[in-house]
């Protein structure tokens, strides 16, 4: 079977484990590891305020990453805010836009597919402002459809907060149509792209979303860095979220002035090493190309699904998933028992509610197993995974489960 041409760039694969947990966090290529290392070893210095060489190089890398992200998303550089991760990005929107602009009776559209990080900030805003949460009814497969979305959209809708790709079902939300409809009702759209950005091309200008969030660590980048894209005209009217060093133009005892642009939202020292690493992650993805990536994942996923379906006792929840995420259970075996078996065989998949309890409720299950495939996985990985599941089924059957 053909060798995976990318796996050599991911040193962690040398440890002999089969890594099928990218939806939790991805492995990092050498270029990302080395960029972080370069900052920590050679450049350690703070940005924007130093004149010596290391500080100048650091500032350049830090700001050129912003350009790289902007180009990647087809956004303007001034629309790219660094955060700690998707969760922080979405909380920034909830606090700095949501709390300030919503009032009792306004409606926020969410769905049962949301990750807790895309749902809970809006549950909080609803509680604080008296706004009402509306759930898009999922279709029989568990998908958000435009038709179902139309049924909850109304003149009361002020915010639409939906996931672009579900981290449990792997479905792609028809975001473009949803955003266009939302704008007809003057609602703003907040897109959770944590599982989308590594799979599909995102053009925020074409998509016309108002905010879009993702994390570095799920797209080959370092932990501790996330992005919030925000439309300039919205960022301009928003107050800051966190207050501190570097986000102000003037500070006085009585009153202070904020910077404009993304800097207004970047208070204090940012995760500089991780920002610098993120640039390399995006470059790595761009070098391969998102269409190549998604085609490869698609092939591997179909290869895996075809075999998994054959195994008696396995229930698959998302057989039509389009992004490398396969969610299933061994029917009589609690998911935590099942992954203990797989972990013993060095097969890294995840069990639980995946920070998305609402979709578990919708599926009528307490927890499930999730395997997620990415560009560095091989057919051999899938074979070992399938073999592992077969053995697990047999093992637990013998035990009397």
């Amino acid at each position: 079977m053909m060798k995976n041409p990318y796996s050599k760039d991911f040193p962690q694969l040398n440890n002999g484990s089969v890594y099928l947990d990218t939806a939790a966090t991805s492995l990092k290529p050498n270029s990302v590891i080395e960029a972080v290392n370069h900052y920590n070893r050679d450049l350690s210095s703070n940005i924007h305020r130093g004149m010596y060489e290391a500080a100048v190089e650091t500032t350049e890398l830090y700001e050129s990453t912003r350009e790289t992200v902007a180009k990647f998303l087809h956004a303007k550089t001034d629309e790219i805010i660094y955060t700690r991760g998707t969760t922080s990005s979405l909380n920034l929107v909830a606090y700095a836009y949501g709390l300030e602009n919503l009032k009792a009776g306004d409606e926020i559209i969410v769905s049962e597919l949301e990750h807790h990080s895309s749902f809970l900030p809006w549950q909080f805003v609803a509680k604080k402002t008296g706004a009402i949460l509306k759930f898009v009814e999922l279709n029989e497969e568990g998908r958000i459809t435009v038709e179902a979305f139309k049924k909850v959209l109304s003149t009361k809708t002020k915010v639409v907060a939906l996931t672009y790709v579900s981290n449990v079902m792997g479905y792609i939300t028809p975001m473009k149509e949803i955003i266009s409809l939302s704008h007809q009702y003057n609602a703003i759209c907040v897109v959770d792209a944590a599982q989308a950005v590594q799979h599909i091309e995102i053009d925020v200008t074409a998509l016309d979303c108002d905010f879009l969030a993702f994390s570095g660590h799920k797209m080959l980048g370092p932990t501790g860095i996330g992005i919030l894209y925000g439309k300039q005209k919205l960022l301009n009217i928003m107050e800051p979220f966190e207050y501190g060093g570097d986000m102000n133009d003037d500070v006085n005892k009585d009153i202070s002035e904020w910077k404009t642009g993304p800097q207004k939202f970047e208070a204090g020292t940012m995760p500089i090493a991780s920002v610098i690493g993120l640039q390399k992650a995006i470059e790595y993805i761009e070098n391969i190309g998102l269409s190549t990536i998604s085609e490869y994942i698609d092939k591997l996923q179909r290869y895996a699904l075809a075999q998994l379906k054959q195994i008696e006792g396995v229930k698959i929840y998302n057989p039509t998933s389009e992004t490398g995420i396969i969610t299933f259970n061994i029917e009589t075996v609690p998911s935590h028992d099942a992954i203990s078996f797989l972990a013993e065989k060095n097969i890294a998949i995840r069990a639980g509610q995946h920070c998305a309890k609402l979709i578990c409720d919708w599926l009528g299950i307490y927890s499930c197993l999730r395997a997620s495939i990415y560009i560095y996985n091989s057919y051999t990985d899938v074979d070992i995974f399938i073999e592992g599941i077969k053995e697990a089924v047999a093992y637990f059957k013998k035990l009397g489960f």
């Binding site: 609690p334 998911s335 935590h336 028992d337 203990s340 078996f341 972990a343 013993e344 069990a351 639980g352 509610q353 309890k357 578990c360 299950i365 307490y366 927890s367 093992y395 035990l399 009397g400 489960f401």
Partner: protein, 145 residues
């Protein structure tokens, strides 16, 4: 696979398949403590009645993996009839044992001793502990629902 076999011992499978003292009672004299572990979906409630310093009943209900279910079942069987002091002592030592901390190896943990295999599975320590932590809260006199 011997480590796994050591985890899924016969006693554990027996309790998982035939849980003891299952189901709660409506009785205000019972203390009840519920613990959820959302990352795995475990959700266990322990209900305990203490009279004159003796645990006279201990009940359990919930769902979760075999280890958490079996450890709840074993817990209830062991605890009924124990004095508060004995109960607390056994619970503390059990919790130390499964989390690989120091514990009194002289103490008779009865059937709970079979959970020693959990030590090889750090990620399962919580599964084996959850019912016992809830139990300790009930005998402290706490209720959370």
């Amino acid at each position: 696979m011997s480590e796994l076999d050591n985890l899924y011992r016969e006693v554990i499978m027996d309790h998982y398949k035939s849980p003891r003292n299952k189901g709660l009672v409506e009785d205000a004299e019972y203390k009840l403590f519920r613990i959820k572990n959302p990352s795995c979906g475990d959700d266990i409630t322990i209900q305990t009645k203490v009279e004159n310093g003796i645990v006279t009943d201990c009940r359990q209900i919930g769902h979760g993996c075999s280890i958490s279910m079996a450890s709840a079942s074993v817990l209830t069987e062991i605890m009924i009839g124990k004095t508060l002091e004995e109960a607390k002592n056994i619970a503390d030592n059990y919790l130390n044992m499964v989390s690989n901390k120091e514990f009194d190896t002289e103490l008779d943990l009865e059937e709970a001793a079979v959970f020693s295999g959990v030590r090889q599975f750090p990620a399962r320590i919580k599964c084996a502990s959850i019912a016992w932590v809830a139990f300790k809260d009930t005998i402290k006199g706490d209720s959370n629902e």
